[in-house]
Structure formats: structure tokens, C-alpha cells
């Protein structure tokens, strides 16, 4: 309960900051909407001409794009701002105040900033998933929905774990904010079905940089094409990545030298 209250308070602070400057708030909102539309618009243009890609039909590709958009929106709304703010804290030495609070430092870092307008992208992504399933006349079973949710959660966990590793890198080398852009660029691979990648890349994008855990597999699960064995494997990948990220965080904080006053 404490952590729920804490996360709520952190989100409230970010929202209050966004609301503090009226012009900035509306500009951000407009840009957020534009960004979401620009991200999805090519799909509307191309959907009529979409052929099957490696066994994925037109509407199945729309579901995949929806999953990707949800994840990309989560990244730009929640994770990227928090990572950038935390990296600035490390750079300026104000991480001191974060670490002095009587709560888990990692939770505080991962929830310290967010951009509410980018949640529009998440809503847009969910709409695409629903539209793709409906227009593609896919019958989503309860098991498929559960598997989709499980892989979706595993995907978000993997995304956050990867973000934590990027954050830990900035303890060693300051001014690594550009890494969040590299992460964003890497995520673009998640637009495509797992099957389009050669086996080596598929292994890389599943077990090392688990982009496919975040997008392709949740879509497959919803379409009822993923076995529970694979779901368990993906959950294991995410859990492993989470443990590695947590250990890296503990090690980084122990080596934190603060910035001199």
C-alpha cells in the first residue's frame, strides 16, 4: 500500500509540474497527440495494401502495431522521462535526496517523472489492438487473453529492467542521456513480427535485448498462437532480466560517490 501511495504521489508531482505552465501544458498536449497520430497514420495509409508478412495477415499486423504502440507510449510517457530525470540527478548530485528518502531508491527513480500526454499513445495502441482483433474477426479466447496479458506484463517488466541497466550505466559514465534515444531506436525493431528476423537476431531480440518479448509475443498470444510453454519461457526471461537489473542497481548505489558540494 505504501508503494502505491508513493507512486501516486510521484505521478501527482509530475502532473502538477506539467500543469504549472499553461502554455507548456497545451503545447505538450498538442505535440503528444501529433506524435501519436504520426506514429499510427502510415498504418491507415498502408493497411489496404498490406499483404501477409511471414504468416501474419493484414489485421494481425495491426494488432502487432497496436502492441508496439502501447509499449512505445509506455516508454515515452513513463520510463523515458524517469530515466532522463534520474540521470540528471546522478549528474548533478541531487540523487542524494532521492536516496535519503525512506523508500526503495529504484522505485523512486523509476517513478520520479512522467509525461501525461504521451499516455494518449497507449490508449491509441490499445484501440489498434481491439480494432485489429475485431476487423480480423479473431476470436480471443480466455486463455489467449490471459496469455496476452501475461506476456504483456513480461514485456513491460523487460522494458523496465532494460531501462534500469541503462540507468546503472550512467552511474559509471555520466552524460549518458543519449542512451535513452538509442533505446527508443532499438525498440523500433519491435514493430515487426518475430518471424521476419533471422534465427540469430531472433535469439538476440528475445533473450538479450528482449524487444520481441515486449511486442511480437504478446500479439501472438492474443491471436491464440502462443503455447503456455513459450509464455513461461518469456516470463522467465523477464524475471531473469529483472534480477540482473536489481543486482546492477544495488551495486551501482553502493559505488555511488555523489557529486561534491
Amino acid at each position: 500500500m505504501f508503494y502505491l501511495r508513493l507512486v501516486r504521489a510521484q505521478l501527482e508531482m509530475s502532473t502538477l509540474t506539467a500543469l504549472q505552465y499553461r502554455l507548456g501544458f497545451w503545447t505538450e498536449g498538442l505535440l503528444g497527440l501529433l506524435w501519436s497520430v504520426i506514429g499510427i497514420a502510415p498504418l491507415f495509409v498502408a493497411v489496404e495494401h498490406l499483404g501477409a508478412v511471414e504468416g501474419w495477415g493484414r489485421w494481425e499486423l495491426v494488432v502487432l502495431t497496436g502492441c508496439f504502440t502501447v509499449l512505445s507510449g509506455t516508454f515515452t510517457a513513463l520510463l523515458q522521462p524517469a530515466l532522463r530525470a534520474s540521470m540528471t540527478h546522478i549528474l548533478k548530485g541531487t540523487l542524494d535526496y532521492v536516496l535519503l528518502r525512506p523508500a526503495d531508491g529504484l522505485v523512486l527513480c523509476l517513478t520520479c517523472a512522467f509525461q501525461p500526454w504521451h499516455l494518449v499513445e497507449v490508449v491509441g495502441g490499445l484501440a489498434l489492438v481491439i480494432a485489429g482483433l475485431w476487423l480480423g474477426e479473431v476470436e480471443v479466447t480466455a486463455a489467449g487473453l490471459a496469455a496476452g496479458l501475461a506476456t504483456g506484463v513480461a514485456g513491460v517488466v523487460a522494458l523496465y529492467a532494460f531501462g534500469v541497466l541503462v540507468l546503472c550505466a550512467s552511474f559509471q559514465a555520466l552524460q549518458l542521456q543519449a542512451l535513452t534515444h538509442v533505446m527508443e531506436a532499438l525498440m523500433d525493431f519491435g514493430r515487426w513480427p518475430a518471424q521476419v528476423f533471422p534465427p540469430l537476431l531472433r535469439v538476440l531480440f528475445t533473450f538479450v535485448v528482449p524487444l520481441l518479448v515486449m511486442t511480437s509475443y504478446p500479439a501472438e498470444a492474443l491471436l491464440g498462437r502462443l503455447s503456455w510453454g513459450t509464455v513461461a519461457q518469456l516470463a522467465a526471461v523477464s524475471a531473469t532480466l529483472l534480477v540482473v537489473a536489481r543486482l546492477a542497481w544495488v551495486r551501482s548505489v553502493r559505488g555511488y560517490t555523489s557529486a561534491s558540494s
Binding site: A9, L16, L100, R101, A103, Y256, S260, S261
Partner: protein, 326 residues
Amino acid sequence: MVRVEGLCKRFSVPRREAGLRAALRALVRREYRVVEAVQDLEFSLAPGERVGFLGPNGAGKTTTLKMLAGLIVPSAGRVEVAGFTPSERRPEFLRRISLVMGQKRQLSWDLPAIDNFEFNRVVYEIDPVHYKRRLEELTALLEVGEVMRRPVRQLSLGERMKCELVAALLHGPQVLFLDEPTIGLDVAMQLGIREFIRRYNTEHGATVILTSHYMEDVAALCPRILVIDGGRLRFDGSLEALRRQIRPLRRVSVRAAALPDDPAALGRVVLQEGGRLVLDVAPERVPEVVGALVGLPEAQDLAVQDAPLEEVMRALFGREEAAELG
């Protein structure tokens, strides 16, 4: 309340020669130098004590303070604060301490301080009734009732520091670490903050550990001082004891229509200008010298003082005296 035994902190710091060639070479192979920031520090503090850390820049004061607060993990030695090992950073420990840094801020720049206080209420799980009472008490004492409703970026340095203090004290810490809390403030604001810290210490029995470059802060607030230089503890005692140890001579000054023919016979002449004479005199000779000076024609403004604190510090951090103390 605080116990420190054999505390050490070593940092590995990259170094290179000046110039482009050295910078390029450092890209491939970087050299590191080990800096002993804190060496074998030992001291203990009782609950409710007010203690000042004194030392030149880079002496290891802030590093020590941050190890006590649990921000930096020691390389060796033991630290115990309020019964906890700070580097474990347990929530129960963090609820008992607070750190205020004059050169860094915890308040969000864009929001009014009151929003930050509310956030701290959630983080420190302060009961709403208790929070309201505490906020009223602190804002009344520091006179920030209206100030806390303006965005932090619009506050003056002094107003911001007052709000930082409120944020740091809302949860009622038992140990308060203050790192240069009055830096950059005008004299009136410095006095106000000093008075507030003293009052907080007296009323709540909190242990206060202060570092400051303003000697007046330390002199006015801390009955006990620890002099840290080169990462080592050089002195532990009262300011008076330190002053007497470093500059045992008393400063005697007088203004008169005519000065003695041979003032050097009375003591070391610091200033002889117009009708004014300033001497440094051994304590046992003060009555004799004062007697002689009172007898001067039209003698006035006769004063006997200890050496000014700044002078003591200048002397203290000159290597010879520091070595003597060590």
C-alpha cells in the same frame, strides 16, 4: 547517538596531463590516482549535541557527513548513527535523519514548496494531524507562510533555504546533518537560520552536525568542534580550547594621545598607527600590560580579546600548526 571507529574512504580519481595528446591517450588508457578522502576517523556524539566540522576545502568534511547519512559507503571502519549502520539505508534509519545541503536542493524547482511538503508527508508517512501541526509550527518559526505558496524558482536564496529546512524537518529527524546551510545568504538571513537551528535543537533534542565556511555559524551554534584536515581528525574540543591552543596570545588594543616609547616591551606589536596600538600579549602578562596602557594620556577604547576566529583558522590550516595538532 553517533559512533565512528576507524572510518576511511578512498576514491579512485582519473588523472591526466594537460593538452589534446594527453586527452586522446586517456581515451584509450586512463590513469587513476587513489585519494584518501577520510582516514581513520574516530569520534562519538551524544544525543542532542551540536557539533561543527571545520576544515579547508577538500578536507573530507562533506564526505564524512555523507557517510554518516548513508549516502557514501565507507572503504573501511564502522559507523553507527541512532543505532543503525547508515550505509544499509534502512527506511527506519532514514526516517530518523535529515540532510540539508546549501548548494543542492530537494525542492522541485517548478512547484510551490507546499506541494513538495505534501509529497514528503506521503514519503515519510506522517500522520495528517501531526503533519498539519508540524507544518504550522515550522512555517511560523521560519516565517514562510506566504512564501511556500510561490513556485520555488521565484524565491530568493534565503527564502528557498528556509523552505528546504521545513522540508527537511517535517518528519522530526533525531539527527540533522547541515552542509553549508547558510552559504550565499545575507547576514540577517544567516542569523535567522542560526537561531532557528539552535531553537530546533533545544526544543526537540535533535543532534545537529554542521559544516560551514562561515566561522560565525560554527562559533554561534556549536559548543564542540571537530577539525578535519587531509581526511584526518586534527582536533576535538571547544572552540575556545582550539583558539587558546592555536593562538594563545590575547589581543590588547588601546587608543591614546601618546603611545609608549617601546611598545614591543609589552608584547608583539600587531598595529601601531596614529594614536592606536594593538598588541598580542601572553595571558599571564595581560594585567600588567592593561595597567600600563590605562595609564597612558587620554587612554580610551581599551579592549582585551581572543585572536579573531578567521586568523585562528588561517593559522590552523597552515601546515605547521595542523601538523602540531595532529
